[in-house]
Every structure is written in C-alpha cells, then in structure tokens.
Amino acid sequence: MNATRQRLGARLGARLGTRVGARLQALPQPRRSAFGVGALVVAGLSLTQALGSLLPSTATTEFGEGSQRNFVRAVSPGGGAVPLRTGDLAITGVEGATTVTRPYTYPASTDAVFLVVRFAWTPRAETSTIVKATLFDGRGRRFTVTSLSAGRDGVTCLRPPPGITADCVAVVEVPRDALAGSRIQLSTNAIDDALDDVAEADLTDAVGPGSLSDYGRGRTAPVEATYRGLE
C-alpha cells in the first residue's frame, strides 16, 4: 500500500511538480477500518436517497403527490353517496351546456362547452363545503375551478351545518376535445387536497356515448346552490 502510494506520488510529482508529489506522499496512510467507514457512509447515503424517493418531494409541481397524495374515493354519477372525512357526497347529474345562467348575473355563453356537474353535499360532524373541482382530461390537461375564482365557471355550494344537505353545482368550461376520457375530483380544501378525502368520478359514461361534438350544444344550464328541500 505504502509503496503504491509512493510510486503514485513520484509519478504525479514528476507531472505536477515535486511540491504536490511530496504533499501526496505526506498524507496519512489509510487503514482497513477507514474503508469500512467509507462503505458505511456510501450505504447510508444510498439508504437516504431511497427513503427520500418515498417521502413528499418539494420539487413536485403540485401538492398532494408522493406520500401526501390524496385519499381518493370513487363516486359514480347517479350512484350513491361516498363518505369523505367531513361529509357525504353524491353526484346527482352531469350535463353539458353552451350557456350558463346565475342569479343576478349576465348569462355566459361559450363556443366550447360548459360541463355542469350537480352534486349533493352533507357535512357529517362539522360545517364544511366543497370549494374546488378539478377536471382531468385524456390529454393530460388539468382544469381547476374554485368557489373563489367563480367567473364564467366555478364551484357554487352553500356551507350547510351537519346533517343538512346542500345541492351544489360545479361548472367547468372546457374545449370539446377535453370531454373524452375525463374525470373530475371534488374536494373541501382549495389549497391542499390532502386535508380531506377527495371524491373522484369518471365522466366517460355520463358524457358519452353520443357525439361529443354536439354534447350540450344549444342548451342553457341554470346554476344555483340551495339547501335540499328549500328550492
């Protein structure tokens, strides 16, 4: 080992200058235990990297990925209610329209299509509501609306006390090529979906099987939120 290091030092000294070669030769001689420590360090770094891939990453583009991914509860349009952490949600209808009307606002029309998802929300133990809807299409695009961003499209849902059902509407304006293979997620938190379960519905059957180029064309959909039984 020592002879090897001296040979290496001499060879490098000839190339780099005697000063560098002398310094290399003066370095402490590594022991067998030092290699063991090095192996342990490398093993520890590998283990840390493997664990890091399982933990939430700050480099992801969205919240709710990795171990913080959403708890998705599948719900069928027209089917029964699905329990989320804070309440029960049932999708009562899906329709398309090219005009939507809201109380006290001018009707909005589109050359694309408004996808209108009607749902019932019943908080279980605390006052809560659905504030965000995200539609994923078959092309990897993501259409998000919230109750705060309500302009042409958005989520309209009252905030009922526990045990009272609110009839709500989520309107998402999408190009027609986004209808095929789309699914929608409804959640109670607009910032971080991980704080509650998320209801997800596959809209393939609800939107099809007719011609998507005519889906909802010429129809007007009223958008209004109310408590069930009060409409």
Partner: protein
C-alpha cells in the same frame, strides 16, 4: 527613477507569478472568474429575448398565454347593460376620480393547466404614462408600469376573469384607472408580459412568476365616453 521602480515592481510580480505552479494559477483564475461573474449574476445563461413590437390585432405568444390586443380607449363609465326581459341589469364601473383606460384583448391559455388571476391580471400592462391609482387603493398615484388593473372582465357577460382554462380563448377587458389630474394622452404604450414557470423560494410551490415584457407598442387612445 519612477519608471525604474515601476519596472522593478512589474518584474517582481512577474517572477512571483512564474514561480507559482500551474495548479495554483488555474485555481486563482477560476476563483477570479467566479467572483467577478458573480457580481453580474454568475455564469448562468441570460435570457436576452428582445421585446417585440406590439400591434393591434397581432397575436403575441407570452407564456403561458397567447394575447391579441384588439383595442384601447378611455371612458369614465364601462360595461353597463340594461335590464331586458329575464336578463338582469349589469351595473357599469364608473370612475369617480378620473377615467378608465380600457385595453381589450383576446387571451388564450396555451398551457396544459388552469391559469389564475395573478398571471392573467399582469399579462397586459401599460407604460410611459403617469397618474394611475394603485390596485391596493389610496390616493398616491403611481406610474403606468407600477399600475395594476382596477379590474379584468370577460366580455360580454362582464364576469371576473378569475381563471383561464387550457385551450380556451377569452375576450377580455383590462381596466386601468387614471387620475383626472393627469391629462390623457393621444396614444398609450401597451405591454404584453410573459411569465416563467419556476419554484417559489418560500413555499417551494411551482407557478408562473416574474412577468417580463414580451411585446410593447403604442396604440391610439380615443375617448369613448358613454352618452
């Protein structure tokens, strides 16, 4: 004598430099390059895309949007719609402190995800003018490049332009409020800004940030006050 002393110093420096090993000289050179370039933002590639000329009706690609500015004018009252049948009345925005400079545009979201109000409201701005009210309110006037829109509406329903969905084009109006103490110009410099997709240094959330001019041009600014 002075020259001899100078030559002597140069010779000493030269000898000192030549006596260094190549390793020390290379290290010193790298350190000097890093330190000096650090004063000007480092050795990263600098985006030097020029600001292109903006013309009315011309589509400008400004990530994550494509913006086509169609018109610019001033008015004191914007966007009122009379009640007709079941259609409710839409109240106009009326400037009590001066006038609105309206920039009408068609905005398309060319990205693959919804774009929010912060990006949409800063996609169009003004320049080379003064006397604007800041978005936060108050009486202190700011120059045009610091002014934020009083409101951004989708037209003709006059809804808040809160989100733009991918693949869709919206007809919108940007309202900038200018004080009556400032005379309106015959033209207005209109700017279309692009954004950069990057991670926030505080909450590590990715979003479109840092609006920078992509296109700028002077447009006629007629007055179109309501009768």
């Amino acid at each position: 004598m002075v020259r001899q002393a100078g030559v002597s110093r140069v010779a000493r420096v030269r000898r000192w430099v030549l006596s260094r090993s190549w390793f020390e000289l290379t290290t010193a050179t790298v350190l000097v390059v890093l330190l000096v370039s650090g004063l000007f933002g480092g050795l990263r590639e600098v985006d030097t895309d020029p600001v292109v000329a903006l013309q009315a009706g011309q589509a400008v690609s400004a990530q994550p949007l494509q913006v086509r500015v169609t018109d610019a004018y001033t008015t004191t009252s914007f966007g009122g719609i009379e009640k007709k049948g079941d259609t409710p009345q839409v109240y106009p925005d009326t400037s009590k402190r001066g006038r609105f400079i309206i920039v009408e545009a068609e905005v398309e979201n060319t990205s693959d995800a919804t774009v929010g109000y912060d990006v949409l409201s800063r996609a169009v701005s003004l320049a080379d003018a003064s006397g604007f009210f800041p978005r936060a309110g108050g009486d202190a006037l700011v120059p045009a490049d610091e002014a934020r829109p009083y409101a951004v509406y989708t037209m003709p329903e006059k809804a808040v332009f809160g989100v733009a969905q991918p693949g869709l084009t919206y007809r919108v109006a940007y309202l900038f409020e200018q004080s009556s103490t400032t005379a309106p110009g015959a033209r207005v410099t209109t700017v279309v800004n692009r954004h950069t997709w990057r991670e926030d240094s505080l909450d590590f959330h990715f979003d479109w940030k840092d609006p920078e001019p992509q296109a700028s041009g002077s447009l006629p600014l007629p007055a179109r006050n309501a009768p």
